[in-house]
Amino acid sequence: MNAKPFHLNRTLLILIILLVVIAIWKPVALIYGFQRGGLYALIALPLALILGIIGILNLGHGDFLTLAMYIGYLLFENLKIDPLLSMVPLFFIFLALGMGIYMITIKYVLKSGELNQLILTFGISMVIIQMAELIWTTRPRNLYVSYASSSVSFLDFSVGTYEFLYPALAIGVLIALRLFLKKTKLGQAATAVGQNPRGAEIVGIDTNRVYFTVFSISIGILGIAAGVMLPRTSIFPLTGSPYTLKSFALVAMAGLGDLNGILIGGITLGIAEAVIQSIPGYGGWSDLVFFGVLLAVILTRAYRRSES
């Protein structure tokens, strides 16, 4: 922890050098990766909140995203609500869903150990996937809005402009979260609980209320992410699943409680993924980037811990 500032600087430096190299070598991958990376960060932020403050790894994270996308799709099909606009209702619907899920499940496993928590959220994940399959089948749904397919072209390549919304939203949500954690009373309490739950309880913080709020806001943010993803994502029961692992990889990489690190990490991994995807014949392996990083990061950490 003490070596952190130095560590971050060095990482940043390496990052900048790498970015320059990639910008020359594969400029499209750089831009594309930046966009996707923003999305990864946007989705990882709520996972980080739940893990950092409540201490629970929500294995159903990506599946809540899937569910939100289906609901956004329904809003569009039935009520003609524009997907970008649907972020607002989706946020509130999933805020409420988060409250419900917390009240009927999470609340009861807070003290019953990591194992039960993991199995519980894994069960939730399975229920959402199977429910989606039951109601909507495995047939992918796609939703078309004209503005989402606009693009700009430089030199001899073109990139979608819509996707710049991902990093923009990620930054927006990050700023909002930081303000919430710093400026509001509840946010400060949440920070305190994340750092030392027992201590926080002793000084009279209502941890249950903090957990309740943090959990529901986090699930609500997934509603926002779903809204922005809708026009450019094919929706099927497993759409969101990979994001659980990717989000966890980002959180592990950034370190618990480092929300800025998630943004930087997300963009880095997004670019790494895009670069591998752009190599002909090896594109399929890009799915392993996150796993590779996850393993490398947690192993070096485990190794360092056993050294000390």
Partner: protein, 238 residues
């Protein structure tokens, strides 16, 4: 040759030096006391020797062999045993089974033999409720489990980290006579204790730690008059 020797043993936690250049020589069959105010580094010292944590610097020789790089389980099989200041019973087991674990793995006994050894240890400790599960036991019982597990591992040297804390005076006397019995059976004993009466009664020699450093060493009656020791303890009360 001392049974255990540390040379320049040092442990840093970030900026804090919890154990600072400690040179100890423990002779076979002695009872050594380690005292010092809260946070002096006593438990950290024991953990370094037992292998729970690794030193930042320095050496640990057990029976003349350097062990500071060995994993904890190997050290415990060589005959280094410790208790934990806060009792750590294995929740799932009965008292007897808890004690068996030491016999099974540290002493490498068979299941049948380990059960016998554990029963013997329980007899020695006068631990009657050995077949009950942990949640039905008293503080004294849990302390007995803590010591029993260490004893069942057939140690050559035994570190007792504040085993008297939380006991009433009857129980403390019981424990004192037990430790005397153990010494007579040939085990070298290191006790860490805040209760000076116990230290005075039991130890051949004491080492005083303060802020990770050894500030005094010798028989209790002399060490207790040492102005450095007195001020270390007085400093704590402020």
């Amino acid at each position: 040759m001392p049974i255990l020797e540390t040379k320049h043993l040092t442990k840093r936690f970030g900026g804090l030096v919890a154990v600072d250049d400690v040179n100890l020589k423990i002779e076979e069959r002695e009872i050594l006391g380690i005292i010092g105010p809260n946070g002096a580094g006593k438990t950290t010292l024991v953990s370094l020797i037992s292998g729970l944590i690794y030193p930042t610097q320095g050496e640990i020789a057990f029976n003349g062999k350097n062990v500071e790089k060995l994993p904890e389980f190997e050290r415990s099989r060589m005959g280094l045993a410790r208790t934990f200041q806060l009792v750590r019973p294995l929740q799932q087991f009965t008292g007897l089974e808890n004690i068996m674990v030491g016999a099974l793995f540290a002493a490498g006994e068979s299941l049948k033999k380990a059960r016998e050894s554990a029963n013997e240890v329980c007899d020695l400790l006068e631990f009657e409720r050995r077949n009950l599960h942990i949640d039905k036991l008293t503080v004294l019982d849990l302390k007995k489990i803590e010591i029993g597990r260490a004893l069942a591992s057939r140690p050559k040297i035994l570190f007792l980290d504040e085993v008297m804390a939380g006991l009433n005076s009857d129980e403390t006397w019981q424990m004192i006579s037990l430790i005397k019995k153990l010494r007579n059976s040939g085990i070298t004993i290191v006790i860490i204790e805040h209760i000076m009466g116990v230290i005075k009664e039991l130890t051949d020699r004491v080492v005083v730690l303060d802020s990770g450093k050894v500030i005094a060493e010798g028989v209790y009656t002399e060490v207790s008059k040492d102005p450095k020791v007195i001020s270390a303890y007085l400093g704590e009360e402020e």
